[in-house]
Assembly symmetry: C2
Homo-oligomer: 294 residues x 2
């Protein structure tokens, strides 16, 4: 395995769920048609980003895994013979719901899943209301195309998550995500937010000598409560190489598919040139598992 | 404490050590004259970057702490009533040498020291030959102007080091450093290296909601062995705010002093807006203290 082509689907979602799924299927087909071997979808791609409000009725959007959505995406993976990274609202048990990434292998089998570990709670991102924190840890998913370090959105702010995936042999880091701007933020603040989001993920690539794939949604979604002006998701889906260098980047306004070749041999070389893993002071890192050290 | 003015001295060093010290003293005075309350010097600022070759004779450059250099910098700190972050080649015992940052308080007293924990070893950066890895851990230094998370150069590639300083209450991260280009690298590769170096440190600011101050040397220093074309230190000393935003950045060619005001109140605010520390999954981070998880 030297080169892998990845497809990223940055989509604008409407209220019509079957319409969103139809669009996803078309985009998956388009990416596969351009040679994508691994296709990554954005976070919670079936629906609007429903966490803008806290509404018990919205738990109806959740599904079991396996369930109808896994059947749908499994078939798409098999038909196109791709590894497919999907992001679902998982109903595990009454009162236990997760934000779960599911990875399908090229034969349509479920290669593994990851339940979002870090759960945000910010105005308009009320995820702690909906999602029980993940309990599967930071485990890469083994596929026929390599070990994928799949994490989800808020995880991207945590160097620990990226590091653990790398230490467990992940060959790339993958972030389905849903992040955008609030209308009251100044232009300067928006740029700081976007820049921070990009450099944090590129820095995971550098620290761990791994490519990073981040797929964000795009477009405006209104706040159903009417209390805010909604979220303008900022797109900017990108692929970075193992030195943190951009391999491709989408814009912030439009739906877009990126199909990008990754040279996985570079990770081996970059880790020889930049031997950061060699010199970790693991004897001095104990405090990392503490909340705060006071 | 709301605003603190920091001074960064990006210097080109020659073979003449007293000449380097004289220049440092002048630059410290200049920064203090412009209102700097904390002045940060680059890594191993007294001399050329001597680690380009492995030469037992060069251990003669090391000094005890306290010793002549600490006396010199202590006086400068006291005279200008500044906190001063110096970087010295420490002789601790025969055969035990460290790369040590020393922090002087505004009265000239030694507030604390940090012995570089992560030691590189790359062609032209033969630091493992000279420096015993630090044994003081990642402990911020308490000064009259706040708790300073002082780290050194290679440490900047390790999110663990930045995180531990933040968890121990550091109010800013400070990196004296010495990094540059090798003449055989392509222009593309140089840009990737510089960019990786900058985004990694800015990402520490983002992940931890802290300002970051990084002071690098500048100018070309020849390889005494003649085997390489030496190192062109790339400067680019900078200050980033707690969202990773640039507050100031020096160029890559010339010696330069930066005097920059930091609003330390912003860390409190940024950590409220971006509550990353709140959501850390400390129950899931155990593996971080392992070399590799296989």
């Amino acid at each position: 395995m030297k080169k892998i082509t990845v497809g990223l689907i940055q989509q604008a979602n409407g209220e019509d769920v079957p319409g969103n799924l139809k669009l996803l299927a078309e985009n998956i087909e388009a990416c596969a048609g351009k040679g994508a071997q691994i296709v990554v979808l954005q976070e919670l791609h079936n629906t609007r980003y429903f966490c803008q409000t806290e509404n018990t009725g919205l738990f109806d959007l959740a599904e079991t895994i396996p369930g109808p959505s896994t059947a749908f995406y499994s078939e798409l993976a098999a038909v196109h013979q791709i590894v497919l990274v999907a992001s679902l609202f998982e109903k595990r048990a009454p009162g236990v719901y997760h934000n779960t990434a599911v990875v399908f292998d090229t034969d349509g089998s479920m290669a593994g899943k990851y339940r979002k570990m870090h759960i945000p709670d910010d105005p308009a991102y009320y995820e702690k209301f909906y999602f029980t924190p993940g309990d599967l840890g930071f485990e890469p998913v083994r596929t026929s195309l390599g070990k994928l370090g799949v994490l989800v959105c808020w995880d991207q702010w945590y160097p620990e998550a990226a590091r653990l995936m790398a230490l467990k042999g992940a060959e790339m880091l993958i972030y389905p995500t849903a992040i955008g701007w609030e209308s009251s933020d100044t232009e300067d603040e928006r740029l700081r937010q976007l820049d921070a989001w990009i450099i944090s993920q590129r820095a995971h690539a550098v620290a761990n000598g791994l490519p990073v794939i981040s797929v964000n949604r795009v477009g405006h979604e209104p706040d159903p409560s009417g209390r805010t002006n909604g979220i303008r998701f900022w797109g900017n889906s990108f692929v970075a190489g193992p030195q943190g260098e951009f391999l491709a980047q989408a814009g912030n306004e439009e739906p877009e598919n990126l199909v990008v070749e990754i040279d996985t041999e570079r990770s081996e070389n970059v880790r020889r040139w930049w031997p950061f893993l060699r010199d970790r002071r693991v004897d001095g890192y104990d405090g990392i598992t503490k909340r705060f050290i006071d």
